[in-house]
Symmetry: C2
Subunit: 293 residues, 2 copies
């Protein structure tokens, strides 16, 4: 039976009972407006833990002044229906005044990671993400927390924060779920008109182009970027925020691609800012390795 | 039997065993060079918890570039002797490369609290304090953590951090321990020459002056500060860093003293920077309240 918990004292109490019974806890933090991407995390959490907690909290601290906090889709009732079907135990739906009471002033800063990629056009965003996830970890005390690869920079920051702060949480990152055309699922896709949704496929197409170029031996970032830009600039409604290929731990831009580096981009389709990424794999390296197995 | 633990995996293991046995843990974070101030915290921890853990770690992150990190007194063996006599269970003495491995980049920022008082002349100091204490809390998982009132701003920041991050740690602050003349005990007193040590009493004298003025009805900060300055400036070796009276939660300077506000100061005696503070009590308010009890 799905329980909806809103107060901090109630969630603490429930977690205390779980811990007393020595059951393992899987945790999926979300902002609601759930789609198959979220549900894939929930299903994985179900298979690996005794209990699953999903948080739904549109976190004001991770939105900039001119961003879409007020418009962000809120579909709490249908979210709960979906989670109930998946056999989730607890939906934690805290209220902002209890999460951030008067006098609240702590933020968590990951220097060198928070100001790159999306951090450049969304200053303060990752501080807001880091502090809310840290609070949720402290309240829920999960054994494993699940994140989607779509939010690549977020996953890098989460892993680093957990290591740096000695949090006993295992971070698992699961693959991006896509529509048939390749568009990465995102709650923000709800903002797209019909034509825009078709245009939005250019993000994925450009990432596939990057992988194809790597497959055929191109390693120079400038050459790859130029081809990616061509694909995106072919869409009238698209405006590039950034295209980058980075080291998957440091987020440092790489001039030459190495196996496992990540091509990441943010593109505005009309007024909607979308992100996507791909882990660039050297297939030759894989074949080489597999010949030893 | 006192156990000295240096590795992070060993402390996690020991804490896991404590938690499995459902024993309560009292924690005293220190930088070593222990004195009666630290020992008063340890003794209180002993009376209130099943097990007591003391950390000894001269935390590089909380020292500025031109500060006394390398000179800071290190007396590990005699510290352990003292703690053994007090019946402490574990001394946790981690090494900096394991606390801050390559790639470490997380800091904890308490806006509006970290840049006041000592934060002005020690930029970055409280970020370093906050992150190391957060790491230690996550590793040691204490029920109660003990701090001395002498480090007043630190105690305010610790309380705020614990509340803001939903850490399940009870913060207890115990009174400053003083020498007979009134000098607050501090590991940095070891830097003082004989004459300087006598001069250093001016900090306490000026705080007592503030309380005396409040007792006789003076509430104006400017008037109180002028008298405090006179006392300190009478000492040739003394140079005021700051004198302030602040709200004990927000650390905002107050122009007029309220009951419970804190007079805090930092003064250089020769090359040694010392801090001290006093909670200003309105004795009339206490008498008024006690007439109802």
């Amino acid at each position: 039976m799905l329980r909806v918990i809103t107060s901090l004292s109630d969630i603490k109490q429930s977690i205390k009972i779980f811990k007393g019974n020595q059951v393992s806890i899987g945790f999926v933090p979300t902002m609601g407006a759930l789609h198959e991407g979220h549900l894939s995390l929930v299903r994985q959490a179900k298979t690996e833990n005794d209990r699953v907690v999903v948080s739904i909290f549109v976190n004001p601290l991770q939105f900039g002044k001119n961003e879409d906090f007020t418009q962000y889709p809120r579909t709490f009732d249908s979210d709960c229906e979906l989670l109930s079907k998946e056999g989730v135990d607890i939906v934690f739906n805290p209220k902002a005044p209890e999460m951030y009471p008067d006098g609240f002033c702590t933020s968590v800063l990951l220097e060198r990671l928070e100001d790159k990629l999306c951090g450049k056009s969304r200053p303060g965003h990752f501080r807001g993400v880091a502090v809310v996830v840290l609070k949720l970890f402290n309240l829920i005390n999960p054994d494993i927390a699940y994140f989607g690869q779509k939010d690549f920079q977020q996953t890098v920051i989460m892993r680093r924060m957990v290591a740096d702060l000695n949090l006993g949480v295992n971070i698992k990152v699961l693959p991006t779920i896509r529509e048939i055309g390749g568009l990465a699922l995102s709650s923000r896709n709800a903002y797209l008109g019909e034509t825009e949704k078709k245009d939005a496929i250019c993000l994925y197409k450009s990432l596939i182009k990057a992988q194809t170029m790597v497959n055929s031996g191109t390693k120079n970032f400038g050459e790859i970027k130029a081809e990616m830009e061509k694909i995106i600039n072919n869409c009238k409604s698209a405006k590039i925020d950034y295209i980058s290929i980075v080291n998957p731990e440091t987020l440092e831009a790489v001039p030459e691609v190495h196996n496992g580096d990540v091509a990441a981009l943010a593109v505005r389709i009309g007024k909607t800012r979308l992100i996507d990424n791909i882990i660039l794999i050297f297939f030759i390296a894989i074949m080489f390795l597999s010949s030893y197995s």
